[in-house]
């Protein structure tokens, strides 16, 4: 499959957008996340084969934006997310969060940095079975050494917003998947992070719970929270304001919502995906 030739279709979009980003970063202070020429090469353990997971990724996320990154399995989405979450370091290129170079954050400060600036929502929730829902939500605040009074104060609005106030004393294994995921979102929100990173947040949910969660994401975003979501669900991506497509380790294309409804957006994403895949095959 020749992806090089695919790039030709969309490259003009892509270059124009990049120029714009750089202008914004130097001009206004609106850019929250800036990804520049990020590259990641894994060396396999046996035989020393090198696998290029990310070739050259460039994009940026503005404040109050809601961005979805789409791609098939093996396209490098998860690698990218791990790099953005500072769980993994890129082989080349830079990631800036609010203008701060992530590679400049020391290993010892990394956990605190993540706690203060980033919120995570995972596909499999990653709630701890040994904690009640309340304690799961409070965990990052406890780790930051906050006072219990302050925790309580922060907890109430978040759990009301997420409609989980009535299950706070329950344990993760006692509640539904949708409730678990909302608890996980509450845990991400409670630190008031700059950016929420969501990895296939609807992946383990039934369609109704998924819809409810996506609606929540939209609401949270409307309240001013920046969200970056990685998904391969068209439905999930269609709620975002902007969709980036990754293929073979590069950002291949992007779509803006503009004034489109979710349904129209869904259609547009589907079409793009069709072009992306069949286009590749046709060649």
């Amino acid at each position: 499959m020749s992806s090089k030739s695919m790039e030709g279709h969309f490259s003009f979009f892509y270059n124009r957008r990049r120029k714009q980003n750089i202008e914004e970063r130097t001009g206004k202070q609106m850019t929250l996340l800036e990804v520049q020429n990020v590259k990641k090469i894994y060396t396999t353990r046996f035989g020393g084969n090198q696998v290029e997971a990310l070739r050259n990724v460039n994009f940026s996320v503005e404040q109050r934006e809601y961005v979805a990154i789409m791609g098939e399995s093996g396209s490098g989405k998860t690698t990218l997310l791990n790099i953005l979450a500072a769980l993994d370091r890129p082989t080349g290129g830079k990631v800036y969060l609010k203008g701060r170079d992530l590679s400049g954050v020391k290993e010892r400060e990394m956990a605190a940095f993540r706690r203060q600036n980033l919120g995570f929502v995972f596909q499999d929730f990653n709630l701890l079975d040994t904690f009640s829902i309340e304690d799961n939500i409070l965990l990052p605040l406890v780790l930051s050494g906050r006072k219990y009074k302050e925790m309580e104060k922060r907890l109430t609005p978040v759990v009301e917003k997420l409609r989980i106030a009535d299950i706070l004393q329950k344990y993760p294994y006692e509640v539904s998947g949708g409730q678990k995921q909302r608890a996980a979102v509450a845990r991400a929100l409670i630190t008031r992070p700059q950016l929420i990173l969501a990895d296939e947040p609807t992946g383990a949910l039934d369609s109704r719970a998924a819809d409810a969660l996506l609606q929540l994401f939209e609401e949270i975003n409307r309240d001013g929270q920046t969200i970056l979501m990685v998904t391969h669900s068209v439905k999930a991506a269609s709620t975002a304001k902007r969709v980036l497509f990754i293929k073979d380790g590069e950002v291949f294309h992007q779509l803006y919502r503009g004034n489109l409804t979710n349904e129209q957006m869904y259609q547009k994403i589907s079409d793009t995906l069709t072009v992306l895949t069949t286009g590749g095959d046709a060649r």
């Binding site: 769980l87 010892r108 990394m110 956990a111 605190a112 993540r114 706690r115 980033l118 995570f120 995972f122 990653n126 709630l127 701890l128 079975d129 040994t130 904690f131 304690d135 409070l138 965990l139 990052p140 406890v142 780790l143 930051s144 050494g145 219990y148 925790m151 344990y171 993760p172 294994y173 845990r187």
Partner: protein, 663 residues
């Protein structure tokens, strides 16, 4: 499917589970070895006395019970971990019959490796153990120690039976479970344990009672009966406290919000609650096993190390004769023999230590006005006192006094509390107390004893005989026995001075001649008794160490498996915490404090148990003629120190395995 496939599968399975199966097989090897060696040793002919055989047989019995329980316990742990794997085989199309065949092959391999390895090691080290045993007994006999065929047969049969039992258990587990359950295996969502308030309180109460009994008990006699009760209380209390008490305490901590919601305590407290739920019984086991090891080794070590004190306590004089149903002729014969043989071996009697007197001995229940006489010495009655009746003439000659007593007068000497009244009733007769004595050469005051003794000095032998007659009146014992017990005896104790070899030879000659010439004589020699004491206490020490090692292996293995299983459980938990924003250092710190607590809690508890048990055992040991408390304390402290070091090493090794898994 052919046999070949089962063998391959079984070998692959064992290889894949080597982290848990290697220790299991090692344990089997060690247990077989320990059993074989003990069995072979106790079967060695001409080894020695009956007491020793009893002690060895007891040791072997404990090993059998231990082997059954322990291998079974370990196996159940292993099979629980493997349920998922077996579930996968099942879903991939292996019938339960095929799985059974596979498990059978696995068990066979394990059994062959365990029994074979154990026997090889046992035969290799058997000789060494045998030599060590003889050394401990200070025996100089050089018996041949060979491969014992009956012991090999015993070991093979016993352990095949045990392995068969574990196989049956495993098959039952597989049969009872459906594949979905098997697949889910050990990783089911665990509920937070409930606080069992009643059990926690019961635990505290039991432990308190046990400790209370141990501390309050005064006399060695009470100690015998109460010790058992205290042990039961403490064991039950320990289990209850570990199971319920620990969780109750943690829940209380959790309720205190300002404490709980701190980074330091948050993960630790909640993690500990689950750890205690899963491991409480295992930890209590470790605690009890550790206590047993410590108590057993420290007491037997003290007895062995304090042998000289014990001998000196039991035999205050080097040599003694006791002439039952004495008469002037017999006494002259006895004294002639002693005089001739000491002179013949060029040794002399040390006059400072020499004691020769007549006495009648009885037992009495101490009342406010005197004694009720008893014929049986039932030491469980706390008011029981030993009574020795000595004629005043002998008293005068031994102590260099010149006292004369009327037939209704008595001079009283007690090894414990003094007699305060002016009169003393002995049986039915009332005596006037002519005075009390502060000390007697026969026995010093306030020596640790099983029960206190009264030495009563009376006017003459007729008076003594009349008291003894009264005591034995109406007894349904054999006539001869009554006659012997109710008559006055003559005793003669002394130390010998001279070359050691001469003294030994003189003692031997005296004993030989007296036993053959004088009817109703008993001779005792400290030197000659030494061997039988070393036989008994040496064998006990040997068994103490032997079983101590065995229990230690058990404790180590329980600890190892606990760490591994927790490692797998905690792995996921700590990964999530890292994703949520806990850094490596914090994770390590949390793990450390949890692992340390869980690890050293049983040890701390065991040391506490030992400290309290010390109070009772100290008194109990008086019945074994051991009174050297500082030595016992030293032995206990050394044992605890050695054990703690060993425990810490085991911790370091197993903790490394744990970190490897979690990381």
């Amino acid at each position: 499917m052919r046999g070949q496939i089962y063998r391959k599968l079984a070998v692959t399975n064992l290889k894949n589970n080597r982290k848990t199966y290697v220790p299991y097989i090692l344990t089997a090897v060690l247990t077989v070895m320990m059993f074989y060696m003990m069995d072979a040793l106790s079967r060695t002919e001409g080894l020695g006395t009956e007491t020793m055989e009893v002690v060895l047989a007891y040791g072997r019995g404990v090993i059998v019970v231990f082997a059954v329980i322990f291998l079974f316990y370990t196996n159940s742990f292993l099979i629980k971990r493997r349920k998922r794997e077996i579930g996968v085989y099942h879903i991939l199309g292996m019938g339960k019959r095929h799985i059974a065949k596979m498990l059978l092959t696995e068990t066979l391999i394990t059994a062959v490796a365990g029994i074979g390895g154990g026997l090889l090691l046992g035969i290799a080290f058997g000789k060494l153990l045998y030599l060590a045993f003889l050394k401990l007994l200070q025996a100089h006999t050089s018996l041949k120690f060979e491969v014992s065929v009956p012991a090999v047969t015993d070991a093979v049969l016993l352990f095949l039976a045990i392995f068969l039992l574990t196989l049956c258990y495993n098959l039952l587990q597989i049969r009872l479970a459906n594949p979905v359950e098997l697949l889910r295996g050990s990783s089911q969502g665990e509920k937070e344990p409930k606080t069992k308030v009643l059990l926690a309180i019961a635990g505290f109460a039991l432990l308190g009672t046990g400790y209370g009994i141990a501390v309050v008990t005064e006399s060695p006699l009470e100690a015998i009966s109460s010790f058992f009760l205290a042990v039961i209380c403490v064991i039950l209390g320990t289990y209850a406290l570990f199971v319920a008490g620990s969780i109750a305490v943690l829940k209380i901590l959790k309720k205190k919000k300002s404490y709980y919601y701190q980074a330091k305590h948050f993960t630790t407290v909640s993690g500990m609650i689950y750890r205690m739920k899963q491991n409480a019984v295992g930890l209590a086991n470790i605690c009890i096993l550790s206590t047993m090891v410590l108590v057993m080794v420290s007491t037997t070590l003290s007895l062995y190390a304090g042998m000289d004190d014990i001998l000196r306590y039991r035999f205050p004089r080097e040599y003694g004769v006791r002439l039952l149903m004495t008469s002037p002729e017999l006494e002259t014969m006895t004294e002639d023999v002693i005089r001739e043989e000491t002179a013949g071996h060029s040794v002399t009697i040390d006059p400072d230590t020499e004691l020769s007197y007549h006495q009648g001995s009885a037992a009495g229940i101490l009342g406010t006005d005197g004694f009720d006489l008893k014929t049986e010495t039932d030491y469980t009655i706390s008011a029981l006192r030993e009574i020795y009746l000595i004629p005043v003439a002998d008293y005068n000659s031994m102590e260099g006094k010149n006292v004369s007593l009327e037939p209704d007068e008595v001079l009283a000497y007690s090894t414990g509390e003094d007699w305060k009244k002016d009169t003393m009733r002995i049986g039915s007769k009332e005596y006037q107390v002519a005075g009390t004595i502060d000390g007697l050469k026969v026995e010093p005051k306030n020596r640790s004893r099983v029960t206190d003794a009264y030495y009563l000095i009376l006017s003459d032998e007729q008076e003594i005989e009349s008291i003894l007659k009264e005591a034995w009146e109406g007894s349904d014992m054999a006539e001869e026995w009554i006659e012997q017990q109710s008559s006055v005896e003559y005793v003669h104790f002394f130390d010998l001075e001279g070359k050691e070899a001469d003294c030994t030879a003189a003692e031997q000659a005296i004993t030989d001649r007296l036993v053959s010439q004088v009817p109703g004589i008993q001779c005792e020699s400290r030197q000659q008794s030494r061997d039988s004491f070393y036989d008994l206490y040496g064998a006990m020490f040997f068994i103490g160490i032997y079983l101590g090692v065995l229990f230690l292996i058990a404790a180590v293995l329980i600890i190892y498996y606990k760490q591994i299983s927790e490692g797998y459980d905690d792995k996921e938990r700590f990964q999530i915490m890292q994703k949520v924003g806990m850094d490596q250092r914090e994770v390590r710190r949390t793990i450390r404090s949890q692992v340390l607590t869980v690890f050293f809690l049983p040890l701390a508890m065991a040391v506490l148990h030992v400290a309290v048990a010390f109070q009772v055992i100290k008194k109990l040991m008086v019945t074994l003629n051991f009174t050297n408390t500082p030595l016992y304390l030293l032995c206990t402290v050394i044992c605890i120190a050695v054990f703690a070091v060993f425990y810490a090493i085991v911790y370091a090794i197993t903790a490394r395995e744990y970190y490897k898994i979690v990381r």
